[in-house]
C-alpha cells in the first residue's frame, strides 16, 4: 500500500509516538485529579507536551497552549468564543468547513461575514483583504494552507493587515503545523488552531490551540477542571479556562513524543523532503495529456499537496481505481472545502488529492506517476 492521503491524516508515525502511547497505558491516571503517582505521571506528561508545543510555536508560555480533540474543536472554540452579533469577520474561500460552518452559525446570530474570493490558481488578493476591512471588523480568520490546492496564505501579510487595523488574527494551521515553522509572536497570531494527527504526526484525537496572553475566549465547554470545585463557574485562568473534562492523556503522550521527534529532525528538513516529493510528483504528471492540476505551483510556499483530475473522469472513480489496481491511497471528492471547489469549478467532478509526508519515498512517487499516466490513456 502506498499512502498518499497525509493531508487527511498521517498514517506512518515515528516509532517513538507509538511507544509513548503504549507506555502511557501502563502509567497514566487522570491528570490534575489528585496527587497520586498515576495522576501526577499523567499531569507531567501533559505539562511536558504543553511546554514542547509552546516552544515549537514560539508561544510566550506553556499556559497559552490548550489541548483539544482536533482543529475542528479548536476552531469552534475560537470562532464561537470570540465573535458576537454586530462583529464583522473576514475569511476566504480556501477555508475548510471547520472554519466555514462555525462562521455560518455566527452569521445566523448576527455576525457579518466577508468571504474573500480567489483567482484561477486559488490565490487570494491582499488588496481585497485590505479593502474588506470595515469599522466593525473584528478579525481575519484564515487557513495557513488550502487542504485542496495546497496553496499557502502568506501569514506575514495577513498578520500585518490584521495588526494595521487592530483586528484579531485567527489561523487554521491544520495542514501546516508540524511541517512548517510557525512563530505565533513574529506573525502576530492571536489564535492558532492545530490538529495533532496530521503534520504533527501524533495520534488522532489530539489537537490544540495557542491563545495570545490577555485574549479572553468564551469557553465552548465547561465542567470538570480538577481545581476550584465549589466555584459555580468554570475557571477563567488559562489553560484550564478552555479545557473541560478529562484530556486525552494517552494521545497527548504520543503527541509529545511526536513533537520531540519533529524538533530533533527539524521542520526545515521535514518541509524540504515533503516539498521535494511533491515537486517530483507534480513534474511527473503535469505534462500527461488529459491531466488538470489545481493550485499555484510557481512557488514553494505551499503544502505538499497535488490535487488533480484526469479528463472528465469522476474523481471518486479515479481514486478507487488507484486504490484497487495500484494500492495507492488518495482522497477524492470535496475535501470539506465547498467554496474552494466552487471557485475551481470542480463541484461536480471533485478532485483526486495526493498529499505527501516525510515518510513517502521517491519510488512511491514514481509508482503514482506511472499509475496516473496509465489511467490517463484513452
Amino acid at each position: 500500500m502506498i499512502y498518499m492521503d497525509n493531508a487527511a491524516t498521517t498514517l506512518h508515525k515515528p516509532d517513538a509516538v507509538k511507544e509513548a502511547v503504549m507506555a502511557a497505558f501502563d502509567t497514566m491516571g487522570n491528570a490534575g485529579r489528585g496527587a497520586s503517582r498515576p495522576a501526577l505521571d499523567a499531569s507531567r506528561v501533559i505539562y511536558d507536551t504543553r511546554e514542547k508545543l509552546a516552544r515549537f510555536f514560539h508561544a510566550e508560555n506553556a499556559n497559552q497552549i490548550v489541548f483539544t480533540a482536533n482543529s475542528t474543536e479548536s476552531l469552534n472554540i475560537a470562532i464561537k468564543g470570540l465573535f458576537a452579533g454586530g462583529d464583522h469577520v473576514i475569511t476566504t474561500v480556501l477555508e475548510h468547513n471547520s472554519v466555514l460552518r462555525p462562521l455560518r452559525e455566527c452569521e445566523e446570530r448576527g455576525t457579518e461575514l466577508t468571504i474573500l474570493g480567489c483567482d484561477e490558481k486559488g490565490r487570494i488578493s491582499f488588496a481585497e483583504m485590505e479593502a474588506a476591512v470595515r469599522e466593525n471588523t473584528k478579525a481575519i480568520v484564515c487557513t495557513h494552507a488550502s487542504n485542496l490546492t495546497g496553496n499557502m496564505i502568506d501569514l506575514k501579510k495577513a498578520g500585518e493587515t490584521a495588526r494595521r487595523h487592530g483586528l484579531l488574527f485567527v489561523v487554521d494551521a491544520s495542514q501546516t503545523a508540524g511541517a512548517c515553522e510557525i512563530d505565533v509572536q513574529k506573525l502576530g497570531i492571536d489564535v492558532l488552531c492545530f490538529t495533532g494527527h496530521k503534520g504533527l504526526m501524533g495520534p488522532q484525537g489530539t489537537g490544540g490551540m495557542y491563545v495570545r496572553p490577555g485574549l479572553s475566549v468564551r469557553p465552548l465547554l465547561s465542567g470538570g477542571s480538577g481545581v476550584d470545585t465549589y466555584n459555580p463557574r468554570h475557571p477563567s485562568r488559562m489553560p484550564a479556562a478552555l479545557e473541560a473534562g478529562t484530556l486525552n492523556g494517552h494521545g497527548i503522550a504520543g503527541l509529545g513524543a511526536a513533537v520531540s521527534w519533529i524538533m530533533d529532525k527539524g521542520t526545515d528538513e521535514i518541509r524540504k523532503r515533503e516539498l521535494s516529493l511533491m515537486r517530483r510528483f507534480y513534474e511527473g504528471i503535469i505534462r500527461i495529456p488529459g491531466i488538470k492540476v489545481y493550485g499555484d505551483f510557481d512557488t514553494d510556499d505551499r503544502a505538499a499537496i497535488v490535487s488533480l483530475n484526469i479528463r472528465d473522469y469522476d474523481s471518486s472513480e479515479v481514486s478507487d481505481e488507484l486504490n484497487m489496481e495500484y494500492g495507492i491511497v488518495t482522497r477524492p471528492g470535496a475535501h470539506c472545502a465547498p467554496l474552494m471547489h466552487r471557485a475551481l469549478g470542480t463541484v461536480e467532478q471533485g478532485a483526486v488529492r495526493f498529499s505527501f509526508s516525510y515518510f513517502n519515498t521517491e519510488e512511491e512517487v514514481d509508482t503514482a506517476i506511472r499509475a496516473v499516466r496509465e489511467l490517463a490513456c484513452e
Binding site: G34, A35, Y47, D48, N63, G226, V227, T229, R237, A240
Partner: protein
C-alpha cells in the same frame, strides 16, 4: 500502620494544574525541596494540587517562583503529615 505525625509545613497553592506542574518542574530542575500534594481541605474545599515543602524553604521557593515566572495563588502554613 498509624497516620504519620503532623508538622507545620509550607503549602503553595495555584490557580491551575498547569501552574502546579510548572512549579514541580522548576523545583526539580533547581533541586529545590518539596512535592505535589492534594490541596489540604483546611486551605480549600475545592480540588487541585499544591506544593508542600519545609517551612525553612519559604524564601528559596518565593525566589524561584519569581525567577521562573510561576504564578501562585497563595502561600500557607499548615499542620500536615
Amino acid at each position: 500502620m498509624a497516620m504519620r505525625k503532623k508538622e507545620r509545613k509550607l503549602v503553595v497553592t495555584f490557580h491551575t494544574t498547569a501552574d502546579a506542574m510548572a512549579m514541580e518542574k522548576a523545583c526539580r530542575e533547581k533541586d529545590a525541596p518539596g512535592r505535589l500534594i492534594p490541596v489540604p481541605r483546611e486551605i480549600s474545599a475545592g480540588c487541585g494540587l499544591a506544593w508542600c515543602a519545609p517551612l525553612s524553604c519559604r524564601e528559596t521557593l518565593i525566589g524561584l517562583m519569581e525567577e521562573q515566572g510561576i504564578e501562585r495563588e497563595e502561600l500557607h502554613e499548615c499542620m500536615l503529615r
